[in-house]
Subunit: 374 residues, 2 copies
Amino acid sequence: MREAGLRVGVDEFGNLIGSRPSELGSALLAGSHLDTVPQGGMFDGALGVVAAIECARVLHEGGRSLRHPFVAIAFAEEEGYTFGSGTLSSRSLLGEMPRDQFSELVDRSGRTYDEYLRARAHGLPQAHVPAQVRAYIELHAEQGPHLERMAKQVASVDQIVGSQRTVVTFEGRAAHAGTTPMDRRADALLGGAEFVLAVNEIATASNGRGVGTVGELHAYPGARNVIPGKTALSVEFRSQDDTWLTSARERADGAAGKIAGRRKLGVRVTPWTGSLVQPMDSGLQQAILAAMRLAGHDAVTLSSWAGHDAGILARYVPSGMIFVPSTGGISHAPEEHTPWPAVEAGTHVLLETILRLDATDGTGGTLPLAYAAR
Amino acid sequence: MREAGLRVGVDEFGNLIGSRPSELGSALLAGSHLDTVPQGGMFDGALGVVAAIECARVLHEGGRSLRHPFVAIAFAEEEGYTFGSGTLSSRSLLGEMPRDQFSELVDRSGRTYDEYLRARAHGLPQAHVPAQVRAYIELHAEQGPHLERMAKQVASVDQIVGSQRTVVTFEGRAAHAGTTPMDRRADALLGGAEFVLAVNEIATASNGRGVGTVGELHAYPGARNVIPGKTALSVEFRSQDDTWLTSARERADGAAGKIAGRRKLGVRVTPWTGSLVQPMDSGLQQAILAAMRLAGHDAVTLSSWAGHDAGILARYVPSGMIFVPSTGGISHAPEEHTPWPAVEAGTHVLLETILRLDATDGTGGTLPLAYAAR
């Protein structure tokens, strides 16, 4: 960031901010996130941050000034693995995660989100995201197979799909795996296994309207010679269609109850959380598509099946996303890759979009920043 | 042990040994194990150790001498949770676990069995299990529901059921849980879930001839927004019938292959390990039953569905077991309990059996002790 002429700092939510000041009050924001999932790849998130810095570098080395301030931003905790809560830093930044809940979020080592934030200064000066924002643009790997299937290098995103998630816990009775006859067991893992298959069935039956995943499953106490007395698992549904999401939730609730009843297990479904379908700003989509056409790309538009910080910022300021392909549709895995020509093409479209927006006086918006002190 | 007049020491396999020397070379051994499973109870193992010490205390305080040396023993690592290998200390003691494999067993912190043993001196003097053994007697909670159902306090054990275990790993492809369409997934947890149900079905269909359990299941990488690329699970079958065990293994192998084929997953079944059905010494069973009758108990005989150190020692020296009831049939759980009158009755039968054996000149056996230096 410093080599690209940006003034570097970090805010109290762990977001890394590189600023290029200018005359107009309304800033152009570009970036993505730097955190990742366990065993993830090197493109998800980091690519959009590097692309934003690359745009700043090209402007800096070319001696090109902008009318608007430009800010390259790297959000923290977008995957949200540390505290089990996605887009955590952008939601904290915008006051969507109330400060009095910071001490309720606890990581695997017992540290609260409060304590985590206090330890994140990185020795960098304090900085702030500007409140007046003309637009936020995020370049990101598609993380799905569509662009590669279409043999395209770049797409504009029309919406971020809605998602719903919960944790389901089956409770049985831990007992000795040798001495407990089959008809005297209350094996919580059997309930969990049936429910994993039920979630898959609900999503598969949607014929492409939605996806459903159990990504985490823990059987307790977890010894080969002990019948599991408790099984906890995560459930996540995503869809372009809020109605389908509601029905998937209801069917999962119903399946959990039915399985527990049949297997004489207790069951607890924690309240579902998530977001509705979030459209991207239409003016910004037009600017991205125009930048794509200028560079000789077809006007491809896709929906994002992954959540992004852009989905949070879009609630307050014009936000848009540029997708580049994921080889084999693979993401959240070490093999994650985007072909380098597509990286170059996407970054070029990002720069061209920034220049277009800078040349026009659009109406932006105000971010309700939740900084404690300014 | 010291208060009971025993000379206390520990051997190089972590076994705690309390000896009462006497004239005859052939020793009477009684005891059980001190280790436990995670979230286990306080009876499994410890009860048999305390009962053996109590017998020594009664003899000591009553000034009663025995013809045979008496040894109270507390085996280590019978549950085998630390290194994932049951009856580890008794098998090591008897050379069934070759010393060159000690560095291949690794616990959750990365420590090898070799390193673990070197750190286990406890500040106690070195001691050894005697090689010439007249009999080994282990008092233990039944860990199942039968004695309680029959409203009996004590039973003699006729055999320890055979067991077979393995680890099955399904391999798919980790990918993003939002962006990967349902028809492009290779979700390893779906294979694991189906297999959990298949193991249960194989055991349930046995109509009491066998039990089958998946006690451990791990989905990797284990994040709510990542499709599991790998699932590893433990499988364990137990039966009074070696033929059934063989067929259960074959059916589980078949199910794993079929599930993997249908779901386009890789699958690996590590070689099955375990033991055949192990009968207890018939002369020792008669001595225990005679001691029971003397104390007014019915001549109840049960099979043990759990493995025990007695099953290992029985391969070399006359071995027998005394069972006391488990309330609700529960074991390997904090609620594990044996009513105190039954504890007293069982310990009384143990003492009476020791006195009977001491009074007769039976043929014992020789333990092939694997001590490095004597």
